[in-house]
Amino acid sequence: MSVIKSVRTIAVAAILLSHTAVATEFEYSGKVGVEQRHFVDDSQYTNQFDDTQLSFLVNPELYWQWNDGDDSVTFQPFYRYDSQDDERTHFDIRELSYLHVGDDWELKAGIRKEYWGVTEFQHLVDVINQTDGVDSFDGEQKLGQQMVNVSLVKDWGIVDLYLLPGFRERTFSGEEGRLRGPLTVDNNNVSYESSAGENHLDFAARWTHSMGDFDVGAYWFHGTNRDPQLTATQEGEQQLLRQYYNQMEQLGFDLQATKGDFLWKFETIFRSTSDEDFWATQAGFEYTHVGIFDSAADLGLLLEHSWDSRGEGDDNSAGAAMQNDLFFGSRIALNDIQSTELLLGIGTDLQHSATMFMVEASRRLGESFKASLDVRILQSSDSQEALYYLRNDDHLGLTLEWYF
């Protein structure tokens, strides 16, 4: 009886509260999914699994807003369970942040994701969030980053200022996992150049603007390098890779020119660390042919080139992974009710033997399911290339997701 009574009291209080105080609107959505990844060849290194890996993911999003949407809170946790790789079983808060919208400014505080850039095959200028290396092979999944961001909207563009307290270490495949080199990465004993370690306060300022057909962005970033240096060390019986994060200053610039059926894209960065200074660029175009063969389908063609001033690696330096690489892609969107899409891509190093072939396809099933297929074929006969160590990791992934 008393339980019913107190439930009733709470319900009445809640109703009163929601009517008298600020009118808060709540909304939830998200997805759960199951993924099966099949590796064509047997594993190359000891303790790695063979054949298939099954995983489940849960990624809900809770959203509250009040003051007619001028204030809001978003919470988006993420969890993946993996049947083979303990490191791929992981939890992350992708977003837990507060947003206030002013007349010509915005304040965002909390854990967030921020994407910068325009190119498709490499995301050079995108620097705020750490890569979630275990979650997807293409590096497009990112870990949430703590930040305070003030965005100022001016006639001459949008200026974003970021304070980034705290750093996230990259995630790597575990001992049982595929898609890794011969040595596993140690998640402990991580070291930093800054004496503040993972608590270094990073800072970034970015300006973006649209001028006619041109969309430009430029930024300065000061803080912990998101790319770790990995050094082999002996730990008892075992050899491991230790992560070391240095400090960096980075200038970045990105440009897209939207000219008719062509999107011309350019990204460049200049990075300065205590070890080295370098430039890198990613440049290319995306062309879309609307309505191929008198159908509703679109055909897109993508071409991009990567360049890096560090050049190819040798015995003394690691060099750059993408120092002179060419990418070609073809995207077909059927524009049907199920939003069927197919992307074929190939990336190849013009100086070395290293080629990656990829297929990404997806289709909605009914109203709220989506099926996707991912294929990666990795080839290299050059032991200087990172891909050489993944040459047995050709795989095919099938994902089924339910959206709510």
Binding site: Y63, D104, Y115, V118, Q256, V290, S339, E367
Partner: protein, 273 residues
Amino acid sequence: MKLKTKIKAALATLTLTTTITLASFSAVAVEADTNAEVKGKQIFTEVKRRDIGWGNSKADMQMILSNKHGQKSIREIKIKTLEQQNDGDKSLTVFNKPRDVKGTAFLSYSHTTGADDQWLYMPALKRVKRISSRNKSGPFMGSEFAFEDFSSFELNKYRYNFLGEEQLDGKDCFKVEQFPVDENSGYTRRVVWVDKQEYREQKVEFYDRKNALLKTLTFGGYKQFIGNFWRAQSMNMVNHQNGKSTELKWLNYAFDTGLTEKDFNRNALKRKN
């Protein structure tokens, strides 16, 4: 009857100029064509004139896609629009259903002349991408509506030809042909029925690039807002070539909603409300 006077005056001026400049040509046929063009344009000048001053609006749109077997699929979309003084409207479109594209947003600055500016926001990657507005003939979300069917009406986007007067469901209508000026349009022409009483579009026929009848759009449930502005509560697009159809239902139309420029900048694409 003010309008009639206006049309007459305009026609008189135009007849005069054409007679002078084309004096030595067979002026009669040209005059007839020009008259029809001027009258067609006059009608749409009035359509546009009656829709000036609405300011801003919010609405929820439900799209019901049906194939020829009667199977249905539903899309839910929120649309905010801001009228511009000397340019095309700004609009922000946010998807709610299907759920896998929830949060996907589309920002459009339409222009009275030249290509529109458009950006797309993909929530999974948190990425804002400027997209080409050349893709106007492509289907919108797998529906029978093309992107260009949603862009704001601007007088200079068409050439006109007045075809006559016709009754449609008991309403006296003008029947006007519109020829898109933009060569990227998926249509050679549109035939539009506008009621004489309130200058509202009642029906549109779309002819494809081969000039064959492609689609028919009918408007229903017109409702007047803030004392002036008529908005259809339903629009039904039937594709005669593939047997599919799409019905739009407009819900929760609201005007004077306090929307300003801040709700239509690139930051607004990423917001969820």
